[in-house]
């Protein structure tokens, strides 16, 4: 699954850094109909989690009102060098992961 992750490669210890993520997903609301009147079943990402060296630093519950290809931006304090791990979970067993590393000086 394609995900775009934007995390600064380097930061000073204690800096507040912005993390931006974008993942490709239709986010089908479950409220639309086909031309012949059938309801298109819901297919959305329901949950997003970001972990920093194993510790959860941000989590989101998503609903059909989140636009297709969900974009999320949030902040964290750069404490130590290591990895950010991102996880998206959704309907129909959907699961996708990504990661990014950071050097903290």
């Amino acid at each position: 699954m394609a995900a775009l992750i934007n995390v600064p490669a380097k930061a000073r210890r204690g800096d507040v850094i912005e993390i931006r993520t974008l993942t490709s997903h239709i986010m089908e609301t479950g409220f639309r109909h086909t031309a012949d009147g059938k309801l298109v079943p819901r297919d959305i990402i329901t949950s997003f989690t970001c972990r920093y060296n194993g510790t959860e630093i941000f989590r989101a519950d998503l609903f059909p009102a989140i636009a297709a290809n969900p974009y999320l931006s949030f902040f964290t304090v750069a404490r130590e060098s290591g990895r950010f791990e991102f996880e998206w979970i959704g309907d129909n067993g959907y699961s996708s992961t990504a990661s990014a590393s950071i050097t903290v000086e």
């Binding site: 507040v16 609301t29 409220f31 920093y52 059909p64 009102a65 636009a67 931006s73 949030f74 902040f75």
Partner: protein
């Protein structure tokens, strides 16, 4: 054929009324302010929700309801004993009132979350923040939407 002006006018009026094609709009399933309040109560319980501390950046006029940028910022020092625990965003008239719940903590450093949302109608968007002392703060913003999202036909 009508012979008098009065007959003609009444007939013409009748034809107009009867000849009007009734416009039946199929209203999509829609949340309403009562559902919005229920959704908010599910989050805040019985706690009072005060206005303030929360800023909601969203365009006041949206041409395309399918992707509306939105940023919620909460004024908070984000320390261990005074921080934002969570941010909850609701709407009034989409098919369902919830938009997203975002969970933060003192390690967030800044209480700010951005995403892109769908709006099915001109409506009010509400953002509520839960602080570490379990107080709730809110902001409501009215957004005018010219092209709705969510319920259009698929091609």
């Amino acid at each position: 054929m009508p012979t008098t002006r009065r007959q003609f006018l009444s007939l013409a009026g009748g034809v107009t009324a009867a000849g009007t094609i009734p416009i039946v709009t199929l209203r999509p399933l829609q949340a309403n302010p009562a559902m919005l309040n229920t959704a908010i109560r599910n989050v805040v319980g019985e706690a009072p929700v005060r206005t303030g501390k929360v800023k909601l950046d969203i365009p006041p006029l949206v041409e395309n309801g399918n992707t509306v940028p939105m940023t919620v910022t909460v004024a908070s020092p984000m320390t261990a004993d005074d921080h934002v625990k969570s941010i909850h965003v609701f709407n009034e008239k989409n098919p369902q009132p919830n938009i997203g719940n975002f969970y933060l903590g003192p390690s967030s450093g800044r209480a700010q979350v951005a995403t892109r949302i769908r709006l099915a109608d001109t409506q009010r968007v509400v953002a509520i923040a839960r602080l570490s002392d379990d107080s709730f703060w809110q902001i409501a913003v009215d957004v005018v939407v010219t092209m709705a999202a969510c319920t259009e036909e698929m091609n």
